[in-house]
Amino acid sequence: MSETTFESSAGRFDRFRAVFAGYPAAVAGLIGIVLFSLIALFAPVLAPQDPFDQSRLDIMDGLLPPMSTLMDGTLSVLGTDAVGRDILSAVMYGMRTSLFVALVSVGAGVAVGVVLGLVAVMRGGWIDAVIMRTADLTLSFPGVLLALLLLVVFGSGADKVILALAIGIWAQNARLVRAVGLSEMKKDYIAAARLAGIGQLRIMFHFLLPNAISPVLVIVPMAISGAIVAEATLSFLGVGVPITEPSLGLLISNGNDYLLSGRWWISVAPGLVLVMMVLSINVVADRLRDHANPYLQART
């Protein structure tokens, strides 16, 4: 973005602060995002137990309610599941999987969408038509259903979930970038760059990209929370990540079997963390959207 923004990093920080100042919910959301990211990052250090180490699990610890003490003396704040796994530890590790899958799929989807959107703008003609009709095709399906049907074909696994989610994400970004890019193409700086004999690729990435990217950046947080929910839903339905690297959705699904017998903690704890994570991202996303659209801001 260095081509278009000439501010110092301090200027950028001030601008960032101005977006969130006076919006306590959005600030709380930001704090939540930082907190959850840190917990996910340092789960192996923070978690009281390694939930994947089979040798450390004791079947005698199975289905203990919250605040129980395990056989080896550690306190289980959120209780245990059927195989004696500490829910708190499992949730910390589950956040890693959930966040990882969501971030990678959104990253891949946005990257592919932005590049294809730019290519559609630069090339036009049948290339544009093919890209945009393909985008229409993917967008005509609701995200979770598309991913579900794709996973039926691909089979389950974290890599396949990422692929299926990215396929749902690229189209929206391609559309956005194309819409903004088309209006940018009419501006003088592009004509000047062309006259100066600058190559297509350089125009695309150095001139068009920085000026067409901001609407995409505004929807990225919403895409991430959407991907977290989609992954959780798919894993809950049993077509998502494998049992060996349980995400929050899979942990909730495990607890589902014990819900009717009143053992609520197995499903409720990972679900609450999931909601808090998604909510943190959504309030920040709402703030960014309102900030980017002053008309809405004035009205609400």
Partner: protein, 337 residues
Amino acid sequence: MAEADHGHRCGRTDETMTNFILRRLGQSIILLLIMSVLVFAGMYVISDPVAVMAGEDATEADRQALARSFGLDQPLPIQYLTFLGKIVQGDFGTSFVYGRPVLALIFERLPATLEVVFLAILVGLAVGIPLGIYSGLNRKKAPTKVISFGTTVGYSIPNFWQALLFILVFAVWLRVLPASGRGPTTEIFGVGWSVFNAEGLRYVILPAANLAVALICMQTRLARSGTQEVMYQDYMMFARAKGIARSRLIGRHLLRNILIPIVTITGLELGTLIAFSTVTETVFSWPGIGKLLLDSIYRSDRPVVVAYMILATLMFVLINLVADIIYAILDPRIRYS
């Protein structure tokens, strides 16, 4: 809709409209053909249905006989054409699991899905519109802030987890509503309905509420922004200046004007709702088409999954087509040449 930015303008003649509809229809048919190839290719990759049906201890002769009886021994292009030809005639094959025609199976389950979906839409409209109008009229009041935060929370709670909470609270702790299944139905016009059955109604409450939460949030937001928009229009100012009673102003002038976008967007969301009912139906064991899809995925019941994919595509293509045509009628700029 994406065509709008081409900016070509046509005259407001019937001929361009017919052309536009024909072109969009053509695009839709091509889209459906592409999807049919993708679905067919995709399903062929998944699993070998002969192996699934024959089981472990089948002999080679058994397998071949089985493959022949389902036409699975033919070359792929022939299988595809046969598949396409049958679909056009409304024949989606026979379920491997139920041993019955797939289309009959789906239509049998459809009323259960539609019942929950429409009940959810009604609840969503009945709760969302008043909340939205209130928030739009009283922007600074405390309940508005609560409603606004509520919609954000409602959007952030994953559908499936919310369903589990409903079961936990209403079926396990309070024991007032059943956790799963459909319960008894009352037959009207040859179709069983839960809503017309006192006992059946208890079964439909939780699944419908589960789907309704997201709708309430959506319709609250739509009604709120609509109210804010409409209240500042000249005709509303005029009506107010004329001294029309507040109840009449809201009940008649406001409601009538915000209802159109709300109903349109809700209609467009119908497909998404039917898709989302997959999750709801699975959690509540509600015997609709969503549960049928997941059961069929788990059991590798290929014809059912293929039929669901094709019908879902058809539904989404139709919804988009109708929406585009309506927009084109309303906005002549969209009819590009």
